[in-house]
């Protein structure tokens, strides 16, 4: 479980996160949603220490991350897998070398065991027999899957995914969403996903936190979203005409022909 308490962050005096308190549950796919520029990525990066929060606390199963020194943070980060928006694969390494990298750095496994583990993770993300390719030879969806394989290769307790579907077609996005959700259940990890893709929210969002202009506006389950009275959340969720029509169809407004 990850708990965030009273988190503040500003850049050049401009507040980006304002008093965020939220908890993310183990074994669930927790989603942070919000418009572009609302502070989702900054929140995620503050949680893992890639940005230093101005104030507040972040607890990983009771351990206060922000009070840790450099070495302690390094040790805790070995329990975290992270999927970056642009995948962040190492350009000069092959798929296999990318996934094996954390094992080479931190494990005492034999070369054979490492290869087996890498192959297991690549198989888990449906990327078999692509070990020798370089990131430049992969499609966007394949890169994301390699990045997921790299993120889970060390059996993390926590998985962070920053905009996992950005730049992907709807079918591939669905595959990535399902993969994240399945891995969360399979390995019983605490997963936090940053997204503004409502398909992802409805597909895998077991707990959803809505961030608006740096503040937590709403939290609940995906089922609660459709019935929420929060104006900002409704503006966000039903921004597209398609979503508006879906909502209209689920209410009495459907009877009014002027809504079409």
């Amino acid at each position: 479980m990850i708990e965030v308490k009273d988190l503040y962050k500003s850049f050049s005096g401009e507040s980006v996160l304002d008093d965020i308190s939220v908890s993310f549950e183990k074994g669930k796919t927790n989603l942070i949603i919000g418009r572009s520029g609302s502070g989702k990525t900054v929140l995620m990066k503050c949680i893992v220490g890639l940005h230093e929060a101005d104030k507040g606390s972040v607890f990983f199963d009771g351990r206060d991350f922000l009070k840790m020194n450099f070495k302690e943070r390094q040790n805790l980060r070995r329990e975290i897998g992270m999927l970056f928006q642009g995948s962040a694969l190492f350009d000069s390494l092959t798929v296999e070398e990318n996934v094996m990298f954390p094992l080479n750095m931190f494990s005492d496994m034999t070369p054979g065991d490492k290869t087996d583990r890498v192959n297991f993770c690549l198989k888990r993300v449906n990327l078999e027999n692509e070990n020798a390719l370089y990131p430049g030879e992969l499609s966007g969806g394949m890169k994301k899957r390699v990045a997921i394989a790299r993120a889970i290769v060390q059996n993390p307790k926590y998985l962070f995914c920053d905009e996992p579907n950005s730049g992907l077609d709807p079918i591939t996005a669905l595959l990535i969403d399902d993969l994240i959700s399945e891995i969360t259940k399979e390995f019983d990890i605490t997963t936090i996903v940053n997204t503004h893709d409502m398909n992802s929210v409805m597909e895998i969002g077991e707990k959803v936190v809505f961030i608006h202009e740096g503040r937590k506006c709403w939290e609940g389950t995906k089922e609660d979203i459709l019935n929420s009275e929060d104006v900002n959340l409704n503006d966000f969720v039903f921004a597209s005409n398609f979503a508006k029509k879906i909502k209209a169809m689920t209410t009495d407004e459907i009877r009014d022909p002027e809504n079409y």
Partner: protein, 246 residues
């Protein structure tokens, strides 16, 4: 104030670079790869530049030395001391600041903007140490060889100029480059090279590591890396010369 702030960040960065590696074997492997990438791949440019500069120094000294009272071997001696004392260490250092420095700054800068450095950090790797320490060790070990190559090839270039142009009898040149030879000059040049290697690598890496933004900022960081390294090389040259030759 800004200078102090940047210098402070540089010191913190270097303290992270020189912290204990996670796995020495991986760092050793990286160091060997960097020796090839940053050192061995620079042998060609060092040879080409040194051979021509050796030739030019010899010819210019010959054409500017019209006094018939001065013996011709002085030209060989001048070429030798210029190559040993200044060119092969400082000039090659400046050339490597351009080639290797921009390479390091742009490589690390690219890794920064594509979140590869963040990915390393998230794995629990000390990214500053992993990316920079092997480069520093590789250049500090390999660059003295480049300097030694530059010295030999430069003197050879001067000799070739004598033979091809006939500006100076070959025997006078060969006598001149052996005349009153002070071995300490080589030690002096190699010590300077080690300092320059550290400056080039650490300053360029620092610039690349702290890039914020996109491709344009990576280009700017690369330019800053080369400019700051070059200035620091020349400042260090003055200090070391005063300390070691005065």
């Amino acid at each position: 104030m800004r200078f102090l702030s940047v210098f402070g960040r540089y010191v913190i960065f270097m303290s992270r670079v020189f912290s204990r590696p996670e796995k020495a074997r991986i760092y050793l492997k990286q160091t060997i790869l960097e020796m090839e990438s940053l050192g061995f791949n620079s042998v060609g440019i060092v040879i080409i530049i040194s051979i021509f500069i050796g030739a030019v120094i010899t010819l210019q000294t010959r054409y500017n030395l019209e006094n018939p009272l001065l013996p011709l071997y002085i030209i060989g001696l001048t070429a030798r001391d210029t190559m040993l004392l200044e060119f092969s260490s400082t000039m090659v250092g400046l050339i490597l600041a351009g080639k290797v420095g921009s390479n390091i700054a742009s490589e690390i800068g690219h890794m920064r903007i594509t979140e590869q450095i963040d990915a390393l950090e998230m794995m629990g790797v000390n990214s500053a140490s992993y990316l920079v320490l092997p480069k520093i060790i590789a250049t500090m070990v390999f660059n003295p060889f480049l300097t030694a190559i530059s010295m030999s090839v430069g003197l050879f270039g001067g000799w070739m100029a004598c033979i091809i142009t006939g500006a100076l009898p070959s025997a006078d040149y060969l006598y001149g480059i052996q005349y009153y030879f002070i071995p300490f000059y080589i030690v002096y040049a190699l010590i300077k090279t080690v300092f320059y290697a550290f400056i080039i690598t650490s300053v360029s890496a620092f610039q690349g590591y702290n890039v914020k933004g996109g491709a344009l900022e990576v280009g700017r960081a690369s330019t800053r890396g080369v400019v700051f390294s070059s200035i620091l090389i020349l400042m260090t040259d003055v200090i070391l010369t005063q300390l070691m030759l005065a």
